[in-house]
Amino acid sequence: MTRPVAPAAAAAAAAAASKDASQERQKAMIAAHFHKLAQAPETGDKSVYTFVPGNLTELLGTFSVLPVLPEINALQSGMRGKSRDYIGLAEKLGHSEDVCTYVKCDIGMLKSGNIGPTGERLPKPDLLLLSYTGCFTFLKWFELLAQEYDCPCVMLHVPYQGDGAITDSMRKYVVDQLRKKVIPALEKISGRAYDEDLLKQQLARSAKAEDDLVWVLETGKRKPSPIDAYFGGVYYIGPIFTSFRGTQDAIEYYRELRSEIEERIRLGKGPVTPDGELTEEKYRVVVEGPPNWTSFRQFWQMFTDEGACVVASTYTKVGGVYDNGFRHDPSRPLETLADYCMGCYTNLNLPTRVQMLARYVQDYAADGFLINSVKSCNSFSAGQLMILREVEQRTGRPGGFIESDLVDPRYFSASNIKNRLESYFQMIAQKRAGGS
């Protein structure tokens, strides 16, 4: 499945035009994390492979183990131009052309030496923490990795919000697994006892960072928006969706980011893009679905060329939905982790996703919404054509539909996507003209 994060390679590309202090900070945080991972075989630090949605970063932090997120490695490989070869290698090894390219990219990377995005080798996992949240493929992905590594695998099955709500039974199920399976597995590999007070401290820090993240994302409601909540948004969610939730670093990153955005608002500036500031906000759109990573900058530029700003996106909720009021709550540590896991975007049923998108279109005063449907991710993509119709019907705003993939460059047809986007924005312009 899909997941974001501000990758070092992308950060470098974007920063060519403008490099905020927060970007520099994030880049340094990520580099330090990957360096720690590379040093793990020498330092004895334990590494735990897990997934972004339903990640238990605060809990892992209490055991001082280092998270490795294969989705992030895959998307970084996509941005660094490595994914084509990795996917090709996996397909040669018998992996179907029909399945998730994140998985194949990861398998290909593993078979090619497991070199991470900073050029250093990633450590083998001491534990595979299968946080089975919002994506069936996760189950198979770690079964595949379990064949490659001689390490234990622990399952955390996070129930889907099929009826659009979290029930006590669902919460209890997750908490019971945390207590009886996940925590003992972490105790075993780390040699440390579970420390709930420490977890509470981590969760309190998470909530602080989450407040600032939400504040930043909601500035997309302003006109002009000081942020791009999709292309820019993937950088903003980086620290909180991955290895840094619950850390002081994350608090400082989001505080700094917030103050930068406050300054942009004060100056009446639009978002920073790879080509500089977007000076005229012609179109405001909401985007559903993950971005394409292999042509990320080109994809972004197709929007900026049209003067389009993404004011809200669902992808930036894939590692946690916070703008509905949820915050990690230190007073109920395991329960709040359960609620977090169950609340991630792809764990929401389709009616809830439709409601959320319709709300974004209205609350963010968008001209319309776009769906980038990626071949790899059925969790996102199955049902998106119905989402398109439903959101159009509920909001009266036009929807657009484009198709690409996460990290398989064979599925990014630049001219086709550009044509569709141009037509879509022309349609909005004509509607406006007709309306006036």
Binding site: Y160, Y173, N349, L350, A382, L385
Partner: protein
């Protein structure tokens, strides 16, 4: 009933995309009918509430998909398209609800689509546990079943009682035993039980009340055991893996048999064999017995976390138990569970020295020549070169 007329009845049921048997049953009994998607739901609960469980296995190659394709991108499998088509053309009006078991993200998301498209119907995503500890996953699963029973009770199902559930468990135990008996007979004498026939019988079990289906299975078993005109041929014994959700067209199964394969084990309509052996039918708490059966008697599957077990071991065991000489991986296009599982299964069968081949299909695949040639070559290679 003669064998021919029995098979004709099964074939009629298979091809009846209006679900007339379900409509007739509702007319006769006034009961509710609730559908289920692949792969597994505990039908016993529905049966005990006087509800007819109805397997919705897609529309095969008999229905032109027009509106269903407007709901899905090209890279999504075929089953949800035909299911939507059946919903929109009124074929599934006879169902008072539809259960969507946790099979994959496509089936999962279809549950939400169904809620929006058919707001009056009962829709439930059955999140089967991937934790198999009774006090953890078992408790969660039991609650899921209670929730379904409660909701269907409000819609007109009879209250779920322990006595009724015990009777239903017994009825399905008998049914499973009959299916298992046919699978065993096919393993011993595959010429007696052509898979195309067995498949039709399995599909009949998706729309008939369990008692009627069991009678059909009994009649068929008796008839084929006595059929002296069914003689062995020099065919290769193969196990077909991967067809547990979207079903292959009947023509594909016939093609494989005509290409020289005796299918001696398969994954078709897996709900009939998901639980191994009988579920306890005389316990104090039959709902718990049913939950325990899911936890401890469920078959290894691509959609089930296997924890510390070895991937592919079950497949190798099945090859050995069935006396198969090779494996055909026969998965639907774009089927995440089957296709992501396949490399691990291939590793296991290769390690065991078992020959294999692979191809993909869609439920509406209409051209079988290439498959026939591939399967024929595979069968020939087994007959000619295997030790």
């Amino acid at each position: 009933m003669t064998l021919a007329s029995l098979l004709q009845r099964a074939d009629d049921l298979y091809r009846d995309l209006r679900f007339s048997a379900v409509r007739d049953w509702k007319q006769r009994t006034g009961g509710l009918a609730v559908g289920y998607m692949p792969v597994y739901v505990p039908r016993e609960v529905l049966h005990a509430m006087g509800i007819l469980p109805v397997g919705v296995m897609g529309a095969g190659d008999d229905l032109e998909i027009i509106r269903g394709d407007a709901f899905y991108q090209s890279y999504i499998c075929h089953l949800p398209r035909s299911t939507i088509e059946l919903g929109l053309n009124g074929a599934l009006d006879c169902l008072d609800g539809l259960l969507f078991p946790a099979t994959c993200d496509v089936i999962r998301n279809l549950s939400g689509m169904w809620m929006m498209q058919f707001p009056g119907k009962y829709v439930h995503y059955l999140d089967v546990p991937q934790d198999f500890a009774p006090e953890v996953g078992g408790a969660f699963y039991r609650h899921e079943l209670e929730q379904i029973a409660g909701a269907l009770g409000k819609r007109g199902g009879k209250p779920l009682t322990a006595a009724a559930l015990r009777r239903s468990i017994a009825a399905y135990n008998e049914n499973r035993a009959l299916v298992d008996g046919l699978y065993e007979l096919r393993q011993r004498e595959p010429w007696k039980v052509p898979t195309a026939e067995l498949y039709l019988l399995l599909r009949a079990g998706c729309v008939l009340p369990v008692e009627e289906h069991s009678a059909m299975l009994r009649d068929y078993t008796t008839a084929v055991r006595a059929a002296d005109d069914r003689r062995p041929m020099d065919q290769a014994r193969v196990l077909l893996a991967g067809s547990f959700c979207e079903q292959p067209p009947l023509g594909l199964i016939r093609t494989l048999e005509r290409a020289g394969c005796y299918i001696v084990d398969d994954d078709f309509v897996q709900i009939h064999r998901w639980i191994r052996g009988p579920v306890r039918a005389d316990g104090e708490d039959p709902l718990q017995d049913l939950a325990n059966a899911y936890l401890f008697q469920g078959i290894p599957s691509a959609i089930r976390y296997i924890d510390q077990q070895v991937k592919g071991k079950d497949l190798v065991d099945r090859v050995q138990q069935s006396g198969a000489e090779g494996v055909i991986f026969c998965a639907p296009s774009f089927c995440d569970p089957a296709l992501l599982d396949q490399p691990m299964a291939v590793t296991a069968v290769e390690r065991a020295g078992i020959p294999w081949t692979a191809f993909k299909y869609a439920e509406n695949t209409g051209q079988f020549q290439v498959i026939r040639e591939q399967a024929g070559t595979f069968a020939d290679s087994i007959k000619l070169w295997s030790e």
